[in-house]
Symmetry: C2
Subunit: 273 residues, 2 copies
């Protein structure tokens, strides 16, 4: 199973002149697909469009994207839909061409083979030495400049399923592929992403569902110490839903009540079953 539409046509290749390849000049989204349906479609598309607006990339019509996604996903029981939107082809040089024609790539990919116990029993996590850079102009965006995450991911010890990235000011920002939540005294907290990081769709869902349960969820600065003294830690993204962290470095955490409650609260919103 590997199906790709490039600007609506089946294919697997893009021009070497595409600015996605030349400069990482674009954005992406990763959606869980369950029984033919990409989950949280509206939210993912809205984030893509907000990103495109910030980067001044012309966004395709939502109806067009939806039709292409439906074509790809119709027969998929459980899969991943990845959408890439780049500024398109240009001549050499950073200057944005006046009439750039964006490139959109929709790919249906296999569901990742994460063990089920990552979600039910939790995972071990480490701090990465690779820092995440502070860049307000790109913060929040799911853009194609991901070398930092590649380097951080390469640091992971075999027993760790995720690595946490800190910025130069020693603030914990996120995991290489997930957002992080800490539980302290019955309250949730997740890092402020105004200088770095990807504002995850599942992070939004967790915050909203927590509010609906009258649980306090603060967006704030979190340090390594905050993580290591928290009562519970969990990770979120659109594919994994929520993974409890049972260990960060040498600190162990219980399979906490609030983590389990939030897992239950987002049960409908992710692909992890």
């Amino acid at each position: 199973m590997e199906l790709t539409l490039i600007n609506g046509r089946p294919g697997g290749h893009v021009s070497v002149q595409d600015r996605g390849f030349q400069y990482g000049d674009g954005l992406f989204e990763t959606l869980a697909v369950v029984k033919g349906t990409p989950l949280l479609w509206e939210r993912h598309v809205q984030r893509l469009f907000r990103g495109a607006q910030r980067l001044r990339i012309a966004a395709p019509a939502e109806a067009l994207l939806r039709r292409e996604a439906q074509t790809l996903c119709a027969d998929a029981d459980r899969a991943v839909l990845k959408i890439i939107l780049t500024r398109g082809i240009s001549e050499r040089g950073y200057a944005v061409p006046v009439n750039a024609m964006p490139t959109r790539v929709l790919s249906l990919m296999p569901w990742p083979d994460y063990p089920a116990h990552h979600r039910t029993q939790g995972v071990s996590v480490q701090f990465c030495t690779t820092k995440i850079s502070r860049q307000p102009a790109l913060a929040g965006l799911k853009h194609l400049n991901r070398l930092e995450q590649v380097l951080a991911r390469a640091e992971l010890k075999p027993e760790c399923s995720e690595g946490l990235m800190l910025d130069e000011q020693a603030h914990v920002i996120e995991g290489t592929m997930s957002n992080i939540f800490a539980v302290v005294g019955g309250k949730l907290a997740t890092p402020d992403l105004s200088h770095s990081g990807v504002a995850g769709i599942m992070r939004d869902i967790v915050c909203e569902r927590a509010a609906a349960l009258a649980l306090d969820c603060q967006v704030k600065t979190l340090t390594r110490e905050d993580i290591l003294t928290a009562d519970e830690i969990f990770l979120s993204n659109s594919l994994i839903g929520i993974w409890p962290a049972r260990r960060v470095e040498s600190k162990e955490y219980p399979l906490g009540q609030l983590t389990l409650r939030m897992q239950e609260a987002i049960r409908d919103a992710h692909g992890a079953g």
Copy 2:
């Protein structure tokens, strides 16, 4: 004139699964080609190899790259050779595949149509509001994560030929496509690039040729104030050689003696004629 070799074969497209496209997981070099010869070949290849070592991307043999470059450049009187090296194709996810087969793309591109007076009379320059992020793990490398430069370049006023980027600590780092030198009291200075920026080949040449002329060239922290109070300012890269800056924001500079002397000293090393 647009010739491309992908892993040695003529072509113009790469897989959408290439990590260059997915994550900007790769490096590039831009060489001036004059009368069939890529200038400063050894230096560019050595920088590419050092970058590959830092990112742990397997580098191709130098002889292979050289043969391919010769094939492309043989008939070019004046052109640009761009080399891209990516980590190659992988499945979705940041994890580096164990046996990644790097992708190398060599493209011969048209010589840019910069007016000759940019070099002889100089250019106007502005400060960009887009910051360059601090990231020691990537500093110095000519990597494919270039969204900051794209955003900064898009800020340029029509009368400006280059924009200067500062980091979060208000240090001037470089132009969007060039390195910067300041002349103060008969001495050269260029920004320290240990936290941000591309360590330009022409920047190295300028420093070396200055030393050969017994001219002091310091690598140091430079602020906006240092730029605006300098006697002379110039920009360098492998294609332009040296462009005198005659104006930065509202500050004007003469066509300085040291800039002219350095232009003369590097005359053989760039493609600008």
